[in-house]
């Protein structure tokens, strides 16, 4: 898992852009760094386009049932499409679909099983987005808390947390994840027998937990470093001197100064986690049938790519576009928060 990148806040590549004068008025208005960044972001065309794309996928995921219900009733099966029901009457004896893309199946049907591919694609956006955002949120919280504690308390707490960070960073994560998922699944089943739906649900939450457990270190280290330097600044010293409780110092005085790096780190974590979910599902360690997942679809479809490319393309394009949009948006957010960049 790529650590949600330890963002370098000192980027000096923007000298050439400094000719655009109007930007300077931002600096003088006395707004908070967040407001400055927001104003900058609003004027960033790439950020706007990426946001629209991301919003599109979120809408697809949320309204997947509605979108799928817009498909016409299949003339052969006399049924509305849904992501789970198999319709083997729509494939021939060698498993290839006998029907192409139509008003009943916007992206055709799945070879061998005859499930509606548009429904699987739309529902497939759900696990990607949920896992990406939930895991990014949780790992951010974890990273910030541990970073704050380590940086502010120092001493033994810092030593322990730093050691844990280094330890987790040194683990061969992909290998470990491939090994851990079946073990955790077995543990959670506690010797009981699992139906495929239960297995998939367990895998879903296990994936999130694993992404969080192996994804917080980068941010924690970043926050720890920042806190260490902020701790010695005058306003913190002053707060301490007048007896402000430690919790207030941490969350009132120090944390607001870290909003920039935290948001940047979180926005870069989301696409990383989505890629991870797809990779693990592709490798067979992630989500299982009957859950629709883009990674699984890509794994299934690649062998039949020569004969039936329509199976592979939507998931590949969906995944690539979403990850690209999230990454570029993360970049834009970083630029917007970067005081040295003047775009």
């Amino acid at each position: 898992m790529p650590e949600p990148s330890a963002v370098t806040l000192t980027e000096e590549s923007d000298e050439r852009a400094s000719t655009t004068a109007p930007e300077h008025q931002d600096v003088r208005t006395g707004r908070s760094p967040g407001q400055v960044a927001w104003a900058r972001l609003k004027r960033d065309k790439v950020a706007i386009i990426c946001s629209v794309i991301i919003l599109f996928f979120i809408v697809v995921a949320i309204f997947a049932p509605l979108l799928v219900s817009l498909e016409a009733i299949d003339p052969i099966t006399k049924a509305k499409a849904d992501p789970g029901t198999v319709h083997t009457e729509l494939v021939d004896f060698n498993g290839l679909p006998t029907v192409g893309a139509s008003s009943a199946h916007w992206l055709g049907v799945e070879p061998r099983l005859g499930r509606d591919l548009f429904a699987r694609w739309a529902y497939g956006a759900r696990p990607s987005l949920i896992i990406g955002f939930v895991a990014a949120f949780a790992s951010t919280v974890l990273g910030v808390v541990l970073g704050l504690v380590a940086g502010y308390l120092g001493g033994v707490a810092d030593k322990i947390i730093s050691w844990v960070i280094d330890f987790f960073l040194s683990l061969p994560i992909l290998l470990l994840v491939l090994a851990i998922i079946p073990i955790m699944q077995k543990r959670l089943a506690a010797g009981g027998d699992l139906t495929p739906e239960e297995t998939s649900t367990i895998r879903f939450w296990v994936l999130i937990v694993i992404l969080v457990v192996f994804g917080w270190m980068g941010l924690a280290r970043l926050v720890r470093g920042e806190v260490k330097s902020l701790r010695e600044r005058e306003f913190v010293q002053a707060a301490r001197a007048i007896g402000v409780p430690t919790r207030s110092i941490l969350f009132r005085e120090i944390l607001p100064n870290l909003v920039g790096p935290i948001i940047v780190s979180a926005s870069i974590a989301v696409p990383a986690y989505i890629t991870y979910e797809a990779t693990l599902s592709y490798l067979g360690a992630g989500l299982v049938e009957p859950t629709a997942s883009w990674g699984r679809t890509i794994a299934d479809a690649q062998n039949l790519f020569a004969t039936y490319p329509l199976w592979l393309w939507p998931s590949v394009i969906g995944l690539s576009l979403l990850v690209l949009a999230l990454s570029l948006l993360g970049d834009s957010i970083r630029d917007a928060f970067d005081p040295t960049s003047r775009r």
Binding site: V86, T88, R112, D193, R296, L304
Partner: protein, 591 residues
């Protein structure tokens, strides 16, 4: 014979009895009339010809020369003739090692003929002693003569718990004192289950009658091994050849190159040809890439042959302009939908048969029309005595392994049996959840059975664990226990019905079709086994029908097919219906 292809079949380890079938035919008709008998299944796969003489008749138009390359997906663990009991190595050993008997293909039919022996064995009055005599002038590749003692040593070696761990178990069951014998190194030195009375005569002493012994001694466990040259575990690196080819270069786990054996005398061999100059087996290759390349037939691919199941993406080619480069035919395996008759009452078993979505499951499993043929019987059609019947699970609903199930009729039948939506009958089975295809097949099966009014509890477990769970007769399941199917070791119904429907396997702690213990079934098996060889075949056929119509312990599903894909220069490839593999001894290469 164990199955080496992708399908998971709960395979052999059976207890065979009596029965050879078909009238012995002494005519020496030319073999190998070309391999285009496609989907048609020939009967009488078990004819005997004790008088066959070498050399094998020439194949019209066949040319000598060239190297046949055989790349395929699986990898033999070793090449020890005592250990290997798999389909692929049996084909390789058919080129290098000669046993007491062997099969020859005549007009698409398999005939058992003497190989190293002068005939198919002589049985004593009580049937407990079999005597084989060696032909004169048989030599190993190094020129030393083959003696009867060498075959006795090989037979003893097949008892060794380490050297022959994966071998067959018939010899343990039938040979006198075989149950506890530990082989020539660890076992009793005075063991006399098999002995050589002189340099030419081998005598088998049996515990009980074993009418199909001539078939059994065609396995590579009965190819001669000189005791003085046995290197134990290292013997597999270069087993001494008696056949037309010998080991040239062997890299375990990667490849095997065979060259001509100068000491093979075609005049003594009724079964084998030696057209190519050599063979090159490559193991562990990628099936799709290999098959695509062979169909394109450039360079060495034109002289290559692959026997893995054809990939579904290549079907347009082999059904179209590359039709001549593909050969399919029956294999020795029959697959069934297994039910636990102790837990599912007969009316519900019939409802399952009506509801079962055969077509959908084949489609979901990526099984093409070239990898199986639907079955309505337990005994496959290539076995003598096969009775071609189609039983009905309900009036008008044929059990022929076809169709997609009838949910309405199934619901009616369940209602008649006292089950309904408020009180559904629950089907419990294990499926493999670490295999993508198995997961998909399960989705289809579950949805279709639920649509037919059943409640389904599908328990997902990893493949290795499933093997154990479905092989336990006390398991939690009530259907789809082991065996999924059965591969016969020789073409006779007595190697199918007694081990899979009789009580013996169940009483030994294994699972059977139906997991059902019934005195009437056991009595019928016993009655048929007492009959003379020629009478047995049709009686097994009748019992097959009787079992399905009255008991329905397992639903007939399909018969497996063997596939071969080969380059444009590979000629005379035909499928051996008793093995599901091509007969390589008949293949020749065009230049």
């Amino acid at each position: 014979m164990r199955w080496t292809k992708v399908l998971t079949v709960g395979a052999a380890a059976s207890l065979g009895f009596v029965a050879a079938c078909g009238a012995p035919s002494a005519t020496n008709t030319p073999s190998g009339t070309g391999g285009a008998n496609g989907g048609k299944v020939d009967q009488a796969g078990a004819a005997l010809d004790p008088n066959a003489k070498g050399p094998a008749p020439e194949i019209p138009g066949a040319k000598k020369g060239g190297i046949l390359t055989v790349p395929y997906a699986s990898t033999p663990a070793n090449m020890d003739p005592s250990d290997q009991f798999y389909q692929d190595t049996a084909v390789i050993f058919s080129l290098t090692n000669r046993a007491l008997t062997t099969y020859v293909s005549r007009d698409g039919k398999q005939v058992l003929v003497p190989d190293l022996a002068t005939d198919l064995g002589k049985q004593s009055e009580d049937g407990l002693t079999w005597t084989f005599t060696l032909k004169d002038g048989i030599k190993y590749e190094d020129g030393s003569p083959v003696k009867a003692q060498d075959i006795v040593f090989a037979a003893k070696r097949s008892f060794d718990p380490d050297l022959a761990a994966n071998g067959p178990t018939y010899q343990r069951e039938f040979f006198k004192g075989g149950a506890d014998y530990q082989g020539p190194y660890k076992g009793d030195k005075n063991w006399k289950g098999v002995e050589a009375t002189n340099d030419k005569t081998i005598v088998f002493h049996l515990e009980k009658r074993f009418e199909t012994l001539p078939y059994f001694v065609s396995f590579n466990q009965f190819t001669p091994i000189p005791e003085a040259k046995d290197k134990k575990a290292d013997y597999q690196l270069h087993p001494l050849a008696t056949g037309p080819y010998m080991f040239d270069k062997y890299t375990p786990g990667t490849e095997l190159v065979l060259k001509r054996n100068p000491n093979w005398d075609p005049a003594t061999d009724a079964a084998r040809h030696n057209y190519p100059d050599g063979f090159h087996f490559k193991w562990g290759v990628d099936t799709i890439k290999t098959q695509t390349a062979i169909l394109a037939s450039n360079g060495d691919d034109a002289t290559s042959l692959n026997w893995d199941p054809i990939d579904s993406s290549l079907i347009p080619q082999i059904e179209g302009d590359k039709k001549a480069q593909f050969e399919e035919g029956p294999s020795s395996c029959v697959l069934m939908v297994n039910l636990d008759a102790r837990k599912i009452p007969l009316p519900v078993r019939k409802a399952i048969a009506v509801a079962y979505p055969f077509d959908s499951i084949h489609k979901a499993g990526g099984e093409t029309t070239h990898s199986f043929s639907p079955a309505s019987t337990i005994i496959p059609p290539q076995i003598a005595g096969h009775l071609d019947y189609t039983a009905e699970a309900a009036p008008g609903f044929k059990m022929n392994g076809q169709g997609d199930g009838n949910a309405e009729e199934s619901k009616k039948m369940l209602a008649a049996a006292g089950y309904g939506p408020d009180k559904p009958f629950e089907l419990i089975y294990y499926y493999t959840n670490d295999d993508d295809i198995a997961q998909k097949v399960n989705q289809v099966r579950k949805q279709k059975l639920e649509a037919a009014g059943f409640k389904v509890q599908d328990i997902g477990v990893p493949a290795a664990e499933r093997r154990k769970l479905v092989g336990d007769p006390k398991g939690k399941y009530n259907m789809l226990q082991s065996p999924r199917g059965w591969c016969f070791d020789w073409p006779s119904a007595d190697s199918i019905i007694p081990p899979t429907f009789g009580t013996i396997a169940l009483s030994q702690g294994g699972t059977t079709f139906g997991n059902f213990s019934d005195a009437k079934i056991d009595a019928e098996i016993k009655r048929i086994q007492q009959l003379s060889i020629t009478e047995q075949g049709p009686e097994w056929g009748k019992m097959d029908k009787w079992l399905t119509e009255n008991y329905l312990l397992a639903i007939p599903d399909n018969n497996d097919k063997g596939n071969s894909v080969f380059g444009t220069k590979v000629k005379n490839v035909h499928n051996n219906p008793n093995k599901g593999m091509p007969d390589l001894t008949d293949v020749w290469l065009d230049s």
